[in-house]
């Protein structure tokens, strides 16, 4: 088994974990737990299949288990908060922190879908596999999450839109 196969995915696992949990150290712990689990289950990975999607699946499972075990009370509380629009703090320019704050206000389920689609650029099918949910659920979570973010961000025009591949 080739360690390099997994190691080259670490930066992207870190990016996703950071976006998912926010805190840098908690995120790296999540990556570490994911890597340990991946190593122990590496024999289950079919060579030729998408290793990255497989690693995201493992990270999802680790994340869900940790969340269950630790009962992220804050997160639960945030889910129940009424939607309050985030005001741009400097002129009409939305700040990246505002986007981050809004991202945190999503439920973990919605945040996972948004990040896998928007940042990790997985296809909807890949997200469906990684999170083990039907594609219809992927679409409804994505749609709700995006609309909630749009409303919280005030729906205003913020930055010149660049097309990023």
């Amino acid at each position: 088994m080739d360690r390099r196969l997994i190691i080259e995915h670490i930066p992207r696992l870190r990016r996703y974990a950071r976006a998912l949990v926010g805190d840098r150290y908690v995120a790296d712990d999540l990556v570490q737990d994911t890597l340990e689990r991946a190593w122990n289950k590496f024999y289950l990975w079919r060579p030729g299949s998408d290793l990255r999607a497989w690693l995201f699946t493992i990270m999802h499972n680790v994340f869900v288990n940790q969340a269950r075990r630790r009962r992220y009370e804050i997160e639960q509380a945030m889910d129940e908060l009424p939607a309050v629009a985030v005001r741009a703090t400097q002129g009409d320019q939305l700040e990246l922190q505002d986007v981050d704050r809004v991202l945190r206000s999503l439920s973990a389920e919605q945040r996972e879908v948004v990040l896998l689609v928007a940042v990790e650029q997985l296809t909807y099918e890949e997200v469906s596999c990684a999170l083990d949910i039907p594609i219809g659920t992927v679409m409804s979570r994505l749609s709700r999450a995006r609309e909630r973010m749009r409303q919280l961000l005030g729906g205003q025009t913020v930055m010149p839109l660049k097309v990023v591949k």
Binding site: I7, I10, P11, R12, R14, R15, R18, A19, D23, Y25, V26, D28, D29, V31, Q32, L35, E36, W39, N40, F42, R70, L94, L96, V99, D100, L103, V114, L115, V117, A118, V119, Q121, T123, Y124, M139, L142, S143, R146, E147, M149, R150, L153, G155, V158, M159, L161, K162, V163, V164
Partner: protein
């Protein structure tokens, strides 16, 4: 005009639509400005999220993550370490069998044990109370043969209770105790480490109910223990580390 579904609208900004489907969405958007505005906002969310988190890709990967190995290997290593430690202590052979790699694991266990023994103490939690901090620090510094400092954790809500001298497998150990307003206690265990001076990253160990962050810095091992959540303990450990390494 054919009605465009919500899923097709999302696919328009996320994925690859066929030419035909793409043209259909575009003509829909031309006559549905609200949807067009909505999609523009969604595409912008994508761009903002990427600019927020793509920089993580350029950060150096922490060594601890590169060092992750299969568990079986680590279990074997841990067992071998405990075995070797036993031999090392049993034979009273100094520093030969105790390789630097295995010391930290025992450090976490020893620190957790000291935490469990002393932190429930009501009347005698420490030998020297915080009121005599200067004396405490100079006494423990003298015994450990280095200039110690008692980290100031008051900004995190933990006040120094005091400290005591303990006996560890490597000689004297300095033990500082802190307490928050609710009586939750944390202890910092500082012991000299055998072998070459070296530094390690933070490591974490859950010893039953006690969470321990531990690291080696030069010739000394440090372990912060408490019956608190890992994230909470990590925040304190980082402050301790920063104060000891200004």
């Amino acid at each position: 005009m054919k009605t465009v579904t919500e899923a097709e609208l999302h696919t328009y900004i996320d994925g690859v639509l066929s030419e035909g489907a793409r043209a259909e969405v575009e003509s829909w958007l031309a006559s549905h400005p609200e949807d067009a505005e909505r999609l523009r906002a969604y595409a912008e969310q994508n761009a903002l999220l990427r600019s927020l988190y793509n920089p993580v890709l350029d950060e150096p990967v922490p060594a601890a993550l590169l060092a992750v190995r299969p568990h079986a290997w680590r279990r074997y290593a841990a067992a071998a370490a405990i075995f070797a430690l036993g031999i090392g202590l049993g034979w009273m052979v100094r520093g030969v069998f105790i390789t630097p790699q295995m010391v930290p694991a025992s450090l976490a266990r020893l620190a957790a044990t000291a935490h469990v023994v002393y932190s429930p103490e009501v009347r005698h939690p420490v030998e020297v109370p915080a009121g005599e901090e200067e004396h405490l620090v100079s006494w423990l510094s003298k015994r450990l043969g280095t200039a110690l400092k008692a980290p100031q954790l008051a900004p995190l809500g933990y006040d120094l209770v005091g400290g005591r001298l303990l006996s560890g497998p490597q000689g004297p150990v300095a033990h500082f105790m802190y307490q928050d307003a609710r009586g939750q206690r944390l202890t910092l265990y500082v012991s000299r480490q055998r072998g070459e001076p070296r530094d390690t990253a933070f490591r974490f160990s859950q010893e039953d109910r006690v969470a321990v962050f531990y690291w080696v810095d030069g010739n000394f091992g440090y372990a912060l223990s408490g019956e608190v959540r890992r994230e909470q303990l990590l925040k304190v450990a980082e402050v301790v580390y920063k104060q000891l390494n200004p």
